[in-house]
Subunit: 236 residues, 2 copies
């Protein structure tokens, strides 16, 4: 029996690194990262490193920088918008939303899966994403699956999976430890320095996940992230 | 009252040129063409020319050539696959299917519309596309609309329109004449020469549409396309 293939949306962050480690145990990996002109280009180096560590069959960095001006208005691609500090669930984090980004990437992954006859398309979305990114919610996954069934009629239809869909990020940290996912090589910071800043929303989210999970955090931060207790207090 | 904006998937072909002329009468135009490494790159020059003729506010040629190897297997992007001659509804035309292509492009258009607060996303799909491209069928449009509603929750949701969805291509040719769409500048041929080849599926389809519509065909063909009667006879 041949090993099945999984095509993954793969940012090189904590969630998708754990996702890739998860599928690496049972599937051949086709990892898709996107260069969409993000500030945190360090993320792409992390993605390449993780792909190597996991022995991926293919790792593509898809150059979507042309989409930057098209999708302008997000702090992630527009230099005129300041990356907000603070908790990742705050209203200010909406500035980091690139509209329809996940839908675009998921549909590229579906096309790549169809071209290879891959059995699975997998997304690393989790419960913590739902409040901020509408195209990371369970309803989106359902709608996407319907779209895929129609759009690929006549071809083998890959399963669209999101095994962490209902998980919190600290559960992902625990699972990453259990399966030895190379989180030390992953990258979360949105600010694009040489080490994690420790103050942007994604750094705070990352540090908080390790703390809540009781898992040692392998990340080097420029500024120590606020403790979970203090961020929780600040949000009350 | 300000003029509303329509974001169009725009190949520079006969259908999307007519679509752009249609919306140019009531909307500001944002036209999105894709360079996905297609052989018929002449199409992109046609798209630029038509965008200029129609006074589009924006015309973006999105460079998706990186997707070529990812979506390999189609005659449109893979040099090892021969572009089939013959009627566009034949089974051989399936070699020209880039899996999920329309879904990818539509979702990019949706993201661009969301970033601009555009009122409309429009696709030039028509009844003749349905048998060949599954992501051009009415069911796809319904599924896409559901996806968009979910993916853009919290933002203004653009209407996803496909005014030619149930039209035949000859009806598009008639409508193009009625609204003076610049079809002389449009490009259909999949073979990538300097004039339309006249023998590939899309050239046959183009010529047939003008003939059935009783509209003069402004196209220069290298080889005169077969008459409608003879292609119809060949398919019996």
């Amino acid at each position: 029996m041949t090993t099945p293939t999984a095509v993954l949306a793969f940012s090189g962050g904590m969630d998708s690194t754990t996702l890739a480690a998860h599928y690496a145990r049972t599937h051949r990996l086709v990892l898709l990262s996107v260069d969409y002109g993000q500030r945190h280009r360090r993320e792409l180096d992390a993605a390449r490193q993780v792909a190597g560590l996991l022995g991926a069959d293919e790792h593509h960095v898809i150059d979507l920088r042309h989409l930057g001006p098209l999708l302008a208005g997000s702090a992630l691609t527009d230099p005129s918008v300041t990356v907000p500090d603070g908790h990742y669930e705050d209203e200010t984090m909406r500035a980091t939303v690139v509209p329809n980004r996940n839908a675009i990437l998921a549909n590229i992954a579906v096309g790549a899966a169809a071209a290879r006859g891959a059995e699975v398309v997998a997304l690393g979305i989790h419960a913590g994403d739902h409040t901020i990114y509408p195209d990371c919610r369970p309803e989106f996954l359902d709608a996407l699956r319907d779209c895929v069934r129609v759009a690929l009629a006549g071809l083998p239809i890959p399963d669209v999976e999101a095994p962490f869909l209902t998980w919190t990020k600290d559960r992902i940290a625990q699972y990453a430890r259990d399966i030895d996912a190379p989180l030390h090589a992953s990258w979360s910071c949105y600010k694009g320095g040489t080490v994690h800043c420790g103050t942007c929303g994604t750094c705070v989210e990352r540090a908080e996940a390790f703390t809540l999970a009781g898992v040692p955090d392998p990340t080097e931060y420029l500024t120590p992230p606020p403790l979970v207790e203090s961020t929780a207090a600040a949000r009350r």
